[in-house]
């Protein structure tokens, strides 16, 4: 289940990245590799009103790529580099592997367990109210997109 979910989240990223990539190409702003068009600066409009994707379920990319393995450029995630390899078979992305990723947050040290209150848990749900700002971990996902974009550029053009 966990494995499936991870793969699904990856596929969502792949599909989203493809969309962003196409939009980026169409924008004509190809001289600037730092064009992170993924992030809408207008946080006020972040209100999809859709049901929460949990787990995300999206499938099928409309873009056909040439079969092969394509290694993306390393992209700066600020906390470290991200580099991905996209594997394309039958014109579809069949796998995305991480060759490099920020590892500075991985620590194996144990901390002491102390008596803790039972903390409340809830399944996450989509919130429809408008917000002014959004907090999220954007760094690595944007770097992921950058590296994947460069891998898919090779799959498309080479």
């Amino acid at each position: 289940m966990l494995t499936k979910l991870k793969k699904l989240s990856l596929s969502l990223f792949v599909i989203f990245s493809s969309i962003v990539y196409v939009a980026w190409q169409k924008s004509g702003d190809q001289t600037n590799s730092n064009s992170l068009s993924l992030n809408s600066p207008n946080a006020n409009s972040l209100n999809s009103g859709q049901a929460t994707n949990l787990p995300p379920s999206a499938n099928g990319s409309t873009q056909n790529y040439r079969d092969g393995q394509y290694t993306g450029q390393p992209a700066d995630a600020y906390y470290g580099n991200i580099q991905v390899k996209a594997i394309v078979s039958n014109g579809k992305i069949s796998d995305v592997q991480f060759l490099d990723y920020p590892q500075d947050r991985n620590h194996s040290i144990q901390i002491n367990q102390v008596a803790m209150p039972i903390l409340k848990q809830e399944a996450i749900q989509s919130q429809s109210a408008q917000v002014q700002i959004v907090s999220g971990a954007t760094d690595t996902s944007q770097a992921f997109q950058q590296s994947l974009d460069s891998a898919l550029t090779q799959a498309t053009l080479s």
């Binding site: 989240s9 700066d76 989509s126």
Partner: protein, 256 residues
């Protein structure tokens, strides 16, 4: 082309500006009726300065010079020493989970620089007389004056929020990654350490929120208990199955 070597303006209005700096979008919005001249440029210039001095990706940064052995500890800048002292304090408070030294012994203060820079940028705005504003660097935020409504992003859908909080004079930071998939495991012990998708921490300012979000995230599922034990902090942790765990005082910020 190194993405941190130039900045890109992606939004510029009289009251809200976004630029790409330090490899991430940085946004400043001001609600005050009177906005000091060139204040946006001053804030973005500050982030550019921080990037130039502390980025491990810039070969001429002080961090890189230290890592290359080109400057000795007695030549380090006062600001660098002060930042490293803050990092050391955070390391001790987090029982070693927060560490600006990589396993290879190199210095990488990125985990503390971001929140620290946001907090310092907020101080630049305050000293210029600005009252109602926020500074947002890649999803880590410090808000002042007005009550701001802030969404916590769905880790699986960046266009969707899964929690909304109202904050005033506070910092909020989210640590997380979506890349710890099947191919990712802890190289130290070979174990998969990715049960957590994101950890959001609310604290007195962006520096405090960011450093403890970074430290708590490194702890995995135990991170939320670490935040629970910190006085003055609240947290919202989302695991890989989409189940959130809230610290006991988190709901006082929940927007309804």
């Amino acid at each position: 082309m190194n993405s941190v070597e130039f900045e890109k303006i992606i939004l510029a209005t009289k009251t809200k500006q976004t630029r790409i700096l330090m490899g991430m979008p940085i946004t400043v919005e001001i609600l005050d009726p009177e906005i000091p001249e060139k204040i946006f440029n001053r804030v973005f210039d500050y982030f550019a300065y921080v990037d130039n001095r502390y980025s491990p990706f810039k070969i001429t940064s002080e961090v890189s010079l230290i890592n290359q052995g080109k400057i000795r500890p007695n030549e380090w800048s006062t600001e660098m020493k002060s930042l490293l002292a803050m990092a050391e304090e955070t390391r001790q408070l987090s029982d070693g989970f927060f560490d600006v030294r990589t396993p290879e012994g190199k210095l990488n203060p990125s985990g503390i620089v971001k929140g620290w820079a946001i907090h310092n940028a907020a101080n630049i705005l305050k000293e210029a007389g600005v009252q109602d504003f926020y500074v947002d660097a890649g999803g880590d935020i410090e808000v002042h004056g007005a009550v701001w409504r802030i969404g916590i992003r769905n880790p699986w859908n960046r266009n969707e929020n899964v929690k909304i909080v109202s904050l005033k004079n506070a910092g909020i930071a989210t640590s997380g990654t979506y890349i710890r998939g099947d191919h990712i495991y802890n190289p130290k012990n070979g174990e998969n350490v990715n049960e957590i998708s994101s950890l959001t921490v609310i604290g007195p300012d962006a520096y405090e929120a960011d450093r403890f979000a970074t430290a708590g995230f490194a702890m995995g599922a135990e991170g939320i208990n670490f935040i629970e034990r910190l006085a003055g902090f609240e947290g919202y942790m989302i695991d890989q199955k989409g189940i959130a765990t809230l610290t006991s005082g988190f709901e006082k910020y929940t927007y309804v």
